[in-house]
């Protein structure tokens, strides 16, 4: 039945008629799928198509409403994540869920010590193990530090390392690359290929077609909870995939034309936070989109946080419209008409158990309570307009935002900040987890905002995104600005060259 071109072996897992309902809403409908040993299988689909839900069913996080799962030709009930682990199934979540107060090493061995309660894990052993895993991934992090301080990309890498530590037969990676730069992505791909060659099965979810093309053997496309097709990657063109995913051709993003770039809106002068970033100076003008590229851990997010008052710099100045300002708290920044979309939506963005409405209107209290009392009708109307504008897919506006798919949560956070009508907009990986259909619309929106005189600072690990959108691209490496590249001269190579740490660059130069 399945296109067995990838392999002639028997499937390692067969799913039949998988259906999932949440409170009566069907989000997966009769999905059949065979997974083979030694394949990398991509799941594609718009935000809310059901990819994560499908993965969570395999990993025992959700129980299917109907349907059967066969593992190595045996019927299995995967009733909880622990059962999945025992069956050799590991899920790397879209939002890393770890224990922020435990050390990285402890997080890495977490879940592996079960069944051996009497066998104590010694610190030395654990640290050594953890270091070995991190070396495997080519990451230099102190494993004795707590998870809390890690960037989202590093957290993601720790999650991946944890999955590698278990010898699972099936590893599901839900958007593992969303916050990785090309360098980390390359490392990850190398490891994933090695796992495949060992005969393991990998399910890989991503919104970036070029990654899927580079890595995966077969793809399954979801649309609105239905599996629309499963095929080898070679037999589908990008156009096919997009049409199957979103049911219409993609419009090309055109760079904004003829915007007049005005006065300096945001200026940073010699911003320094010892140990994090040093001597950062740059300007963003009205109508200008300035990109901020660099490797993960280069300090880009820290600079943004400093400007926005979350973790202010120790020295240096911030000027808004040429005026010196003191921003000690995000509320100061918002009063100055700054907005900041953080990269880590689970921690810094959403109020998980509160309604979508409340989440969208959280930064604009005056708009929903002009008289001091919240007016439901205003709140509802404002949220409704944003839901339509960002095409947020939901069951009800009063639904807890935690029930939305990852991409739709991200759209809601974007909507929250667009509502504040900012003059300076700092976006940290704003399209993380957003599907390609909405991405193009979002780029248009950013272009339009700039065209209307907003200053935009865009932090992104996606080089094509920086190249397509920005008038100018700044690059950071090891806490310092290393390049300021004009649009005309910007290439992927130029950005990557400036992003690689100097020390490594010299070594490579010698070699």
């Amino acid at each position: 039945m399945q296109p067995v071109s990838a392999t002639d072996k028997a499937p390692m897992m067969s799913l039949r008629g998988i259906t999932k309902q949440f409170a009566g809403v069907e989000v997966l409908r009769d999905v059949d799928l065979d997974l083979y040993p030694g394949e990398i299988h991509a799941l594609l689909g718009e935000n809310g198509a059901g990819k994560s839900t499908f993965s969570k069913i395999i990993a025992g996080v959700h129980r299917p409403t109907r349907g059967t799962i066969t593992l190595n030709s045996e019927r299995v009930e995967i009733s909880n994540p622990l059962a999945a682990q025992r069956l050799g199934i590991t899920l790397i979540h879209q939002e890393p869920i770890s224990f922020p107060d435990l050390s990285i090493a402890e997080n890495l061995v977490m879940g592996r010590t079960e069944g051996s309660l009497l066998k104590r894990v010694t610190w030395g052993e654990m640290t050594r193990d953890a270091n070995r895993l991190m070396n495997l991934l080519d990451i230099r992090i102190d494993v004795t530090k707590p998870m809390r301080g890690l960037s989202i990309a590093d957290q993601q890498m720790v999650e991946i390392a944890r999955a590698l530590a278990s010898d699972s037969r099936l590893i599901i990676m839900d958007e593992p690359t969303a916050s990785l730069t090309p360098k980390e992505t390359a490392i990850l791909f190398r490891i994933v290929r090695r796992l495949r060659d060992e005969g393991r099965t990998i399910i890989f979810i991503s919104h970036r077609l070029e990654e899927v093309r580079a890595l995966c053997d077969r793809v399954t496309i979801f649309r609105d909870g239905n599996r629309v097709t499963t095929d080898t990657i070679q037999s589908l063109t990008d156009t096919d995939i997009i049409r199957l995913m979103i049911g219409r051709p993609l419009q090309d993003y055109m760079h904004k034309q003829g915007t007049t770039i005005g006065d300096v809106a945001l200026e940073a002068r010699n911003l320094t936070l010892p140990g994090t970033f040093e001597d950062i100076s740059f300007t963003v003008r009205k109508g200008e989109i300035v990109g901020l590229g660099g490797l993960v851990g280069a300090g880009r997010t820290d600079v943004a946080k400093a400007i926005f008052g979350i973790a202010p710099a120790q020295s240096g100045r911030v000027l808004i419209n040429g005026q010196d300002v003191q921003i000690r708290d995000p509320s100061d920044a918002i009063a100055l008409k700054l907005a900041f979309v953080p990269e880590d939506r689970a921690i810094a963005g959403i109020f998980r158990s509160l309604s979508v409405e409340q989440n969208i209107t959280a930064a604009v209290p005056d708009q929903i309570a002009p008289s001091g009392f919240i007016r439901r009708s205003l709140e509802k109307g404002i949220a409704e307009a944003q839901v339509t504008r960002m095409s947020i897919r939901l069951a009800s506006q009063r639904q807890p935002i935690g029930e939305l798919s990852g991409g739709n949560q991200q759209k809601a956070i974007l909507a929250r900040w667009l509502l504040t009508d900012p003059e300076v907009l700092i976006l940290d990986e704003p399209t993380r987890g957003i599907d390609i259909g909405v991405k193009a619309e979002f780029y248009d929106m950013i272009g339009a905002l700039a065209a209307s005189g907003r200053a935009i600072l865009l932090i992104s690990s996606e080089l094509p995104e920086l190249l397509a959108l920005c008038d100018r691209i700044l690059v950071m490496s090891e806490g310092r600005l290393t390049a300021n590249i004009l649009r005309a001269e910007a290439t992927q190579e130029a950005i990557m060259f400036a992003a690689v740490p100097k020390t490594t660059r010299q070594i490579e130069g010698v070699a």
């Binding site: 609105d224 239905n226 499963t230 979350i310 810094a348 963005g349 509160l354 309570a369």
Partner: protein, 351 residues
């Protein structure tokens, strides 16, 4: 949809599925096939519903125990014993929703009441004594706030500390004697009635309405939930987390001194051991009302219902001649059960 694996050309599939495709891919299609949760489900997963059911159950059981239970004025009379705690529990609900806790209010009641009594005894006019009591409440709340917010210490530890500290100060100030001889108009608040309802009960009800409106209808009220749900996100969204939390702790101090004054009036005397152990009753009311111990959820309605539930249970046990020590066991079991139940309800609605 397409049979598994049939190598159908993409175009064929698309044209075959043209009609459904057009509607299905409309961005908001999710809403059309997605009715909101049925109302009974929404009600059922609310912990206040459990509180209400328990309240009704307790009334039924109580009325079997004694015919006094059908006499509303008897219930109202007994409830005056609890009104002070109930009023503080309203404020405590806000503190717990914001993700903090305050275990010092009973001690704050005692110390501010001792300040009131001492100032009065020293010959000052009574209004000055009342003012001093509120000033003391404000100072104690502010001290808690400084430790929790300024020094970023866990509120549970801080307020266990100040619980002891404030009680100790009260003892130093008032010694072992009980201070009384307040003017007639001040004492016996529980015997004064408006439309047959004792004044403390009216105070509690009015306070519940005001706090309930504040929490449910105003921006700071909403921000308390947001802080309790995700403090980091709240800060990113420009919510003045520290200011709001400090306000809540100071508010606790003020409300506690009000409760202390009501108690002083009811007992017509003040001793340093006033309201000893009261913090447990207050926490119990908040928990029984379905407020989540880890913050972010809970309502004033829940605490309001739970206060009445506690009154009914306590009165019922007294009527049934259950000794005070056994009453404590019942309270303890209730506290644990309510925490488990609330947790279970919220965990269910999560996944």
């Amino acid at each position: 949809m397409t049979p598994v694996g049939s190598p159908k050309p993409v175009d064929a599939l698309d044209s075959a599925g043209q009609q459904p495709t057009a509607t299905v891919s409309a961005p908001q299609s999710g809403r059309e096939f997605a009715p909101a949760r049925p109302i009974w489900q929404v009600l059922l997963i609310r912990p206040e519903t459990v509180t209400l059911a328990l309240l009704i159950g307790a009334i039924i059981v109580g009325s079997q125990l004694s015919r006094f239970f059908l006499d509303i004025s008897y219930i109202l009379e007994s409830s005056t014993l609890y009104s002070e705690y109930s009023i503080v529990a309203l404020m405590l609900t806000l503190v717990i929703i914001s993700g903090e806790i305050d275990l010092s209010p009973a001690s704050m009641m005692a110390l501010s009441a001792c300040v009131f009594a001492s100032v009065f005894q020293a010959g000052a006019p009574i209004w000055l004594a009342i003012l001093a009591s509120f000033a003391c409440g404000l100072a104690m709340g502010a001290f808690n706030a400084i430790l929790v917010i300024g020094f970023r210490l866990p509120s549970i530890i801080v307020t266990i500390g100040t619980l002891t500290l404030y009680r100790g100060l009260a003892q130093v100030l008032a010694g072992d004697r009980s201070i009384s001889h307040f003017p007639d108009w001040f004492v016996g608040i529980d015997y004064r009635e408006i439309l047959d309802v004792p004044v403390p009960v009216i105070l509690f009800t009015v306070a519940a309405i005001i706090v309930g409106l504040f929490l449910g209808m105003t921006i700071p009220g909403r921000q308390i939930y947001q802080i309790g749900t995700n403090e980091i996100a709240a800060r990113h969204a420009g919510i003045r987390v520290q200011r709001i939390k400090a306000g809540l702790f100071v508010g606790m101090g003020l409300v506690a001194s009000l409760a202390g004054l009501i108690t002083a009036s009811r007992l017509a005397s003040v001793r340093y051991d006033m309201a000893t152990g009261g913090e447990l009753q207050m926490v119990l009311m908040v928990m029984l009302g379905g407020t989540y111990i880890f913050g972010g959820r809970g309502t004033i309605l829940g605490t309001f219902l739970a206060s009445w539930l506690l009154v009914i249970i306590a009165t019922g046990m007294t009527v049934a001649n259950i000794v005070v020590t056994s009453q404590l066991i019942v309270m303890g079991v209730l506290l644990i059960t309510s925490i488990i139940a609330t947790n279970a309800i919220y965990a269910r609605s999560q996944r």
